[in-house]
């Protein structure tokens, strides 16, 4: 009995019973024959790699780290973690300049924001795209996320900070790179809602990119640095008794689960305090602590897409419940499918075709539902779905901000 505990290895790899169920749910296997598949790349390959690292196969780079294999595995094997760790340990290919640029979301952000109109104009130009395609390997079909001309943090400090002092109840907000550099409107929606339900918002003391893009681009040292920085920033908030709310399922998943399991950064002091805003709001409403008042006559047909990392996190149930319960909403949960972008993966020239093929069942499903818009908690899924289907994609927090009667909500909560 005890012996079994001592002979266990990392990520449960010896629990694998070779059933190949993981491969049946891997989105890459379905479209890319060069990828050996989760079973072969994960537990089977690990057996060989433990004998001799020469068995490491560079084709492991095709793994999206979407974790769908883990969600499906009947034996609780952490297949994707085995694969990512093998890449970290044995991978020889170094990240290219292009990978570094795509991964460094919070280095590029500050550079681009002051020149947002120019950058947006340039990256929207066919000629820029062609140059990037040829010189950098960034696929020319991609639409670049627009940069905002003012960061969320700058807006917050100037326009919202003072207001927040009014509230006795507080939460901390990990906004992430996307809200800060590309889409401050989502952050503003978040602040509006939190204020309406009686919570003041604080920013963290120097948050950095969660590091997900660095992990997938092989920049592990950088990712570990970010993880350490963030855990310390989060700890300060937790020490003050604050919950840390987020609006991105991927940042949330990375900070909760990838920090300890892949980057070996201990987050036990903060892990349970990191919550998606939709979960927090759901729980407040369920416990009766908070009431929501909706606008009369709000109407929307919403199709909800569960991002891969949300699937793994298992919290889609909160976002879905919040959206489905908005009066006037006709709600469809889309079949669980990967959209194909997987962060920066789909931006790379060599992955473009695979990326679009992976997403096709999802795009087809969206077209058949023909909603007013798609809702989803992940920013990269948003780019991919908007580019590939033409449907607008909104974060559930933005949907809620639009559907709520904010003044009335504030009133019934005593503010």
């Amino acid at each position: 009995m005890k012996l079994q505990e001592f002979t266990s290895s990392a990520h449960n790899f010896e629990e694998c019973m070779k059933c190949t169920v993981c491969a049946a749910y891997c989105p890459v296997v379905q479209v890319n024959p060069r990828y050996p598949g989760p079973k072969q790349a994960g537990p089977d390959g690990e057996r060989l790699r433990l004998k001799d690292p020469i068995f490491f196969d560079e084709a492991l780079k095709y793994c999206l780290n979407c974790k769908r294999c883990e969600v499906a595995c009947p034996s609780g094997v952490n297949v994707a973690d085995i694969i990512q760790e093998a890449r970290m340990k044995y991978g020889k290919s170094k990240p290219r300049l292009r990978d570094r640029i795509l991964a460094s979301t919070d280095v590029m952000g500050p550079l681009a924001v002051p020149f947002a109109p120019v950058v947006n104009f340039a990256t929207g130009l066919g000629v820029t795209k062609a140059v990037l395609h040829a010189t950098m390997g960034i696929d020319r079909h991609r639409t670049f996320p627009k940069y905002s001309s003012r960061t969320f943090e700058a807006w917050f400090r100037r326009n919202a900070l003072k207001e927040q002092r009014k509230y006795d109840n507080r939460v901390a907000f990990f906004h992430g790179c996307y809200v800060n550099y590309n889409y401050p409107a989502l952050g503003k929606d978040f602040v509006k809602i939190m204020n309406a339900i009686g919570y003041g918002v604080e920013l963290l003391d120097k948050e950095q990119c969660c590091g997900v893009a660095m992990i997938s681009n092989g920049m592990y040292d950088g990712a570990v640095k970010h993880a350490r920085n963030n855990v310390s920033a989060l700890s300060k908030a937790v020490d003050k008794g604050l919950k840390i709310l987020t609006t991105s399922s991927t940042c949330t998943f990375t900070m909760r689960d990838e920090y300890p399991s892949l980057l070996k950064v201990d987050n036990s002091a903060v892990r349970d305090s990191i919550l998606l805003a939709t979960r927090f709001i759901y729980e407040q409403v369920e416990s009766g602590a908070v009431k929501l008042a909706f606008k009369d006559g709000y109407k929307a047909r919403i199709a909800y897409h569960t991002p891969c990392h949300m699937e793994k996190l298992g919290w889609g149930v909160f976002s879905k419940a919040i959206l489905a319960r908005i009066p006037g909403v006709e709600f469809t949960a889309l079949d669980s499918n990967c959209c194909g972008i997987s962060g920066t993966y789909g931006f790379k020239k060599e992955n473009y075709g695979v990326s679009q093929a992976i997403g096709k069942p999802l795009f087809d499903h969206i077209a058949s539902v023909n909603p007013d818009f798609v809702a989803c908690d992940c920013e990269t899924c948003k780019w991919q779905i908007e580019m590939s289907t033409g449907y607008k994609v909104l974060n559930p927090i933005s949907v809620l901000a639009e559907a709520l009667d904010l003044e009335k909500t504030a009133r019934i909560n005593g503010f």
Partner: protein
């Protein structure tokens, strides 16, 4: 979150119960740690082998006189979920196994051929066609078996350019990936044409079960188009008809408003006064899930619903009472093909399928499916039957018969 009933384990049994409850107007959630035993299913459901004598304490004996009525409900129930079954409510038929032998079952997915028990008519001349390079389908085994039964067999294989793509990665030449290529359209037509071109004077064609992951239409199309009788035979796992059945049940359940927590695992329980109050899960952490009733359908050893150690057989989640032989050497028989006693071990229940903890039945925890003690899935052929029929029984007792 709070529900009327929470079902732990989303395989055949858990989903059947959940659908029944959802249909009767309850709000339910299913927690499912990983994919279920349906992924290894033969595409046929066994209820009970003919001539089998039910051992004392078999789950069927707790269902009592309603058993026949429940059996008659199976086909209509699955039809609602979009799974079309065929077979006879009152007698067993035979299916052709991957080793070329026949095995009893009661129902089969619509494309799976069923044979009359006494005298299975396999035809005189049989063409067995595989996809070139697909090793999860053993044509020689099938031929051997059928030749013993008096048929003449010829083995051929089909190679299409589209298969070349999968073949690039030998480890991924699998049933599911082939099924994706053969989902419809041009490739399916090409495949059908290639098989037709191979038929000489054969009256029967045997193909691997690699058709129809989303629905059975590709399989039916193949059957209709070949011009001779077409028999699909199971491949090595994963099972295409099994995955299809799992997905169809789940999709139907969710369309009824059910909440399916895929990839989450129940890890904590709160019991007071012999009543389960709430369960916690790995993903939801401090957010406990509450319900009036709970169903434990976490499967057998294979799905980790039961655990074994040198000390005995336990149910890991609730720690409810189990029934097993205390004399460990009696757990196995040396002959692999003999009936293995450990397969009958499982969770003990009272007459109403309430799980029992320290000798006292829990008021609102029901056990259903292959976690139950007293089954004999291999020797009695009661695998799917126990999963479905005990789910019906439990759903009925929760709703007072409304389901």
């Amino acid at each position: 979150m709070k529900f009327n009933t929470i079902i732990i384990g989303g395989g055949l049994s858990g989903l059947t119960a959940a659908i029944q409850l959802q249909l009767s107007g309850e709000s339910t959630a299913v927690i499912s740690a990983g994919q279920s035993a349906l992924h290894f299913s033969s595409g046929t459901f066994g209820i009970l082998n003919s001539g089998a004598v039910l051992p004392e304490g078999h789950p069927y004996s707790k269902i009592g006189p309603k058993l026949q009525d429940y059996i008659a409900r199976i086909k209509p129930f699955f039809a609602k979920a979009g799974v079309s079954l065929h077979g006879n409510d009152s007698r067993n038929m035979l299916r052709l196994t991957p080793t070329g032998t026949f095995q009893e079952c009661r129902y089969a997915m619509e494309e799976v051929e069923l044979f009359d028990a006494g005298n299975p008519d396999i035809g005189n001349k049989v063409l067995i066609v595989n996809v070139q390079g697909f090793f999860d389908f053993n044509t020689a085994f099938i031929a051997q078996g059928l030749e013993k039964a008096g048929a003449t067999c010829r083995i051929e294989s089909v190679s299409l350019p589209e298969f070349g793509r999968v073949r690039e990665s030998p480890s991924e030449m699998r049933s599911v990936n082939l099924a994706r290529i053969l989902e419809g359209g041009g490739t399916l037509d090409e495949f059908i044409a290639s098989v037709k071109a191979l038929i000489k004077d054969e009256d029967t064609v045997i193909l691997p079960e690699i058709f129809g992951l989303r629905d059975s239409s590709p399989a039916l199309k193949v059957k209709e188009s070949l011009g001779v009788r077409c028999i699909f035979v199971g491949t090595m796992p994963p099972s295409v008809p099994g995955i299809r059945c799992q997905m169809q049940l789940r999709r139907y359940y969710e369309s009824l408003g059910g909440i399916f927590l895929m990839g989450d695992e129940a890890v904590g329980v709160n019991i007071a006064d012999s009543t389960v109050k709430a369960v916690s899960t790995k993903n939801l952490g401090a957010h406990w899930l509450m319900a009036d009733n709970f169903i434990l359908s976490t499967g057998s050893f294979f799905s980790k619903g039961l655990a074994s150690s040198p000390e005995g057989v336990t149910e890991p989640l609730f720690g409810v009472d189990t029934s097993y032989d205390k004399n460990r050497p009696e757990w196995y028989r040396r002959d692999f093909f003999e009936s293995q006693p450990y397969m009958e071990f499982g969770v003990a229940t009272d007459g109403g399928f309430h799980a029992i903890k320290d000798g006292i039945p829990l008021t609102n925890l029901y056990a259903a499916g292959s976690i139950l003690a007293g089954r004999g899935p291999l020797t009695l052929g009661c695998g799917a039957g126990v999963a479905i029929l005990t789910a019906f029984a439990v759903a009925d007792s929760i709703t007072g018969g409304k389901a």
